[in-house]
Amino acid sequence: MVVSRRKALVYLGVAGAPVAMRKVFAQGERVKVADLAGLVPLQPVSFSYPDEGSPAILLDMGRPTYMGVGPKKSIVAYSALCQHLGCPTAFDPKEKLLVCPCHISLYDPARGGICLEGPAISRLPRIVLEVAGGSVYAVGVAYGLIYGRASNA
């Protein structure tokens, strides 16, 4: 029997989950990441979230993007640590992918950070962003767990 993707997601999210998943995302501290005026499309901005041990990457994809914020809905951010074994990923502007140099996991920042190829078994955790007063703030973590941690909080 083939489980439909929709059903499988229900299972993943609710029924069979090993841990509680009450909130849509883990609300964290509000941390300023960048000023809108300083962002250049496809030039990554590094920051840490939710604390120093967890590097993250902010990207202006230059066009409307899944879960993007900002005037063009083009700004997204992800945990920079590969979900496989934690090597720091880097943005490849030509492929428009986040690439892990260790065993070449390829993540797509335009599609919620899903892993397209390589050993990683999940998306990169997405850093939830808010725009206020011309600045971009990180406010929480959506999806999964940041590498190296047992909790995103």
């Binding site: 997601l9 995302f25 993007t65 992918l97 260790c102 070449i104 390829l106 190296g148 941690r149």
Partner: protein, 759 residues
């Protein structure tokens, strides 16, 4: 953002991008995006069990930690560093039932295992997601838990019965069919890697208990796909050790995409050897895979060969080696017989460089560069091959030709050097009971089906509606037989099955598997199976007992194993207790007086076993290379390319898809990458047919059709299309279009002329 725009933007770009279909893109929404509150980690006093991965031939070591819910560790902040192998990914954790109680379990790649050292792939990383969990109605509905029987024929409903009733039902039908039509009326298709113990049980039952010789493995008809290697060495057993990937100077892969299938081997090669610049990689593949791109990026080569022409490429390289008088004379003189036949065979003009360039489609400079790399790294090269060669008609020729190339360059039995199959699944057969004499005339179970001679089938750990070729023609014939299914999940076979027996699987029973670098390990039971599911070997015991056939009274897995190892000198010292003690590193075969060689065909092996090769005369045999005299790629599959079927289709393995995908939909990391099968088609061929990237297409061959999403890309050359093997949606199964003819080594052929059109 507007969904349509999102979809459009997401389809643009890289050559490695798989596609989301429109349906999938819609499903790609917030409801899947949930953050985890906190993950409970194994406490220090968790129960620990030794496992190996339930999937590929690499056979990575894992540990299962089991503890009471709520008693796990809670950690704040970052607790580990990159590449430590300590991080517990949320997918590693699940809840299961153990001894009737709900327990937490973490399935964690084992840092102590010498094979993976804490590493894992997208397949194995999902091991825990596949467990039968009381928490999930989805998983519960998917798993088989009780014996089911159609009591009144194909039109009656599947009814839950006791094991005793199910066994009696099978026993009666089998006995009757055997009496009326002879033993060969009973056909078997078995998963030949299936946890070792069940495989032995069913083969013994088939050959000795029932006396039938009608059988096929999953994906082959006769001979286990190693004929081209065993012709040289006397066995097809893989000869290398996992460490070789870190020390070899040159890796040559032909028709084997290790990055996607054999991942941990590739990880070790890439991270420790290729990327630091110590080794080079030549990848021979009709597709420009990620592995091929990485090979090129690091100073190696991608030889984008025209499918089915490998014997010509290998023959041309051998001819060039001989022309330069650059073969390993010492090795050849000492160990090789039949060398003259090779010399004489490659004189044929079809093996000249010019002719090879034309036939294989590989540019002259690339063939010459490959030659340079091979000569520079004589005696330090690993030549590996697998299904890309084995599932083409000239399988023997291709396999043997690459073997001979490696042999002449002395890449045998040395650190970082081998010629070998890489393999797909773990080794599951250590003892092969004697087959009934009727086998000589009964090699192809499809002939038996077509002639109406095969009246019953037991699909034993093998989805026969996926793993055999030409399903458009043969599935209806299989459906008509008295069909017994032993499996772990409900499948499309349910619709035609007369009896379904639920199998207790990985984690639910003590099992044994061996890695392709020859480590035998026990996979320990750490949880309860669903309902009344029992390990597959017990299915055999129950039916044999009902039929009154003696010799099947095993009471424990240990007893089955003892019977197996008594028949195989390589493993006879490996009793159950020493295997248990050996944990995730296991014991290696061949084992003599407690010692095993790291590599086959090495000085070490000669010292231990008193022989260097497994051929009768202890030599490497290359005389069968002479069959290449008759090889002409225009025969076979290319002979069917014509105006109606102008394209050549091949298949490949997806990284995230194991086997027939029986656990695919459990692991979101797998299915969200590839929610539908896709078909790689060159922009020229797509344009000529008005096919757009991302649209549904039909692939039609002279044998049948299947569906896929078009991915327009120069990953494949014009004239060649490729789609994943065994994609777990019935209408997207390539085997509905594959050829029925066994290859020259008895395997299935998944290269087929076709046409592709939009729907």
């Amino acid at each position: 953002m507007d969904r349509r725009k999102f979809l459009k933007s997401s389809l643009v770009g890289s050559g490695v991008l798989p596609l989301l279909t429109w349906e999938e893109a819609k499903a790609f929404s917030l409801d899947a995006e949930k953050s985890l509150e906190a993950l409970e980690l194994p406490p220090d006093d968790a129960q620990v069990f030794n496992l190996t991965c339930q999937y590929c031939m690499v056979q990575c070591g894992y540990k299962a930690y089991v503890w009471e819910p709520g008693k796990g560790k809670k950690l704040a902040g970052t607790y580990t560093t990159p590449l430590s192998g300590e991080w517990v990914h949320p997918s590693f954790v699940n809840r299961v039932r153990k001894d009737g109680r709900e327990m937490m379990v973490a399935i964690v790649p084992d840092r102590e295992c010498v094979i993976n050292q804490g590493d894992y792939s997208v397949r194995g990383g999902g091991n825990a997601t596949t467990l039968y969990t009381p928490r999930s109605p989805e998983i519960a509905a998917k798993r088989l838990a009780y014996p089911l029987v159609r009591l009144k024929g194909k039109d009656s409903p599947l009814t839950r019965v006791s094991w005793d009733e199910a066994a009696a039902f099978i026993a009666e039908r089998f006995a009757k069919l055997k009496e009326q039509h002879g033993p060969d009326a009973l056909g078997l298709v078995f998963g030949d890697w299936l946890w070792t113990l069940p495989t032995y049980a069913i083969l013994k039952f088939w050959f000795k208990g029932l006396g039938s010789s009608s059988y096929a493995g999953n994906g082959w008809f006769f001979d286990e796909e190693s004929a081209g290697i065993s012709a040289a060495f006397g066995t097809g057993t893989r000869s290398f050790t996992v460490e070789d990937f870190e020390t070899t100077k040159l890796l040559v892969t032909a028709g084997t995409n290790l990055q996607a299938n054999g991942s941990i081997w590739w990880h070790r090669f890439y991270l420790k050897n290729l990327a630091p610049g110590n080794a080079k990689h030549i990848d021979i593949d009709p597709r420009r895979t990620l592995q091929a791109q990485m090979a090129e990026k690091h100073g190696g080569l991608h030889l984008q060969i025209r499918p089915g022409t490998d014997p010509i490429l290998a023959g041309a390289l051998i001819r060039l080696v001989l022309e330069r008088d650059a073969y390993d004379k010492e090795f050849v003189k000492k160990h090789v017989t039949g060398f003259d036949r090779v010399v004489e065979t490659v004189r044929d003009p079809k093996f000249s460089l010019e002719s090879a360039v034309k036939t294989t489609g590989i540019p002259r400079e690339k063939i010459l560069k490959a030659l340079e790399l091979l000569l520079e790294n004589k005696g330090q090269t690993m030549l590996l091959h697998e299904k890309g060669l084995i599932h083409q008609m000239a399988a023997f020729e291709a396999q043997h030709a690459y073997a001979v190339l490696g042999i002449l360059l002395g890449n045998v039995g040395k650190p970082g050097a081998c010629v070998s199959r890489s393999g797909g699944h773990p080794k599951g057969t250590f003892a092969w009971p004697e087959e009934p004499p009727s086998r000589a005339e009964n090699l192809n179970i499809y002939e038996g089906l077509e002639k109406g001679k095969v009246k019953a089938l037991w699909a034993y750990g093998s989805n026969i509606f996926k793993q055999l070729p030409t399903l458009s023609r043969f599935r209806p014939l299989m459906e008509k037989t008295f069909l017994v299914v032993s499996d772990r999940i409900h499948t499309e076979m349910d619709a035609a099955a007369d009896v379904i027996l639920p199998a207790a699987t990985w984690g639910e029973a003590d099992l044994i598997l061996a890695s392709e670098d020859r480590r035998v390990r026990i996979i320990q039971k750490f949880m309860d199976p669903p309902g009344e599911a029992r390990p597959d070997w017990e299915h055999v015991v129950l039916v044999a007992e009902k039929m009154g056939i003696p010799g099947f009274s095993w009471k424990s897995p240990r007893e089955v194993w003892d019977e197996i190892r008594a028949q195989n000198d390589w493993i006879k010292e490996m009793d159950w207790d020493s295997l248990l003690k050996a944990g995730t590193n296991g014991l290696r075969y061949p084992m003599v007086n407690g010692k095993s060689p790291e590599r086959l065909y090495s000085d070490e092996m000669e010292a231990l076993l008193g022989r260097r090769f497994f051929t009768k005369d202890n030599k490497v045999h290359v005389e069968k290379f002479a069959v290449l005299k008759d090889f002409d790629p225009r025969r076979y599959e290319w002979g069917e390319v014509n105006a109606r079927y102008p394209l050549m289709a091949i298949d490949f393995r997806l990284n995230e898809l194991w086997n027939t995908g029986y656990t695919y939909w459990d692991n979101p990391g797998a299915f969200e990458r590839t929610p539908d099968a896709y078909l790689l088609i060159n922009p020229l061929d797509a344009r000529a047919r008005g096919i757009k990237n991302g649209q549904w297409v039909v692939l039609e061959s002279p044998y049948g059709k299947c569906k896929a999403v078009a991915r327009v890309t120069d990953e494949v050359r014009p004239g060649v299309v490729a789609m994943p093997a065994l994609f777990p949606k019935p209408d997207q199964e390539f085997n509905y279009a594959t050829r029925p003819t066994p290859t020259t080594d008895g395997s299935v052929d998944t290269m087929v002329a076709c046409e592709v059109y939009g729907v």
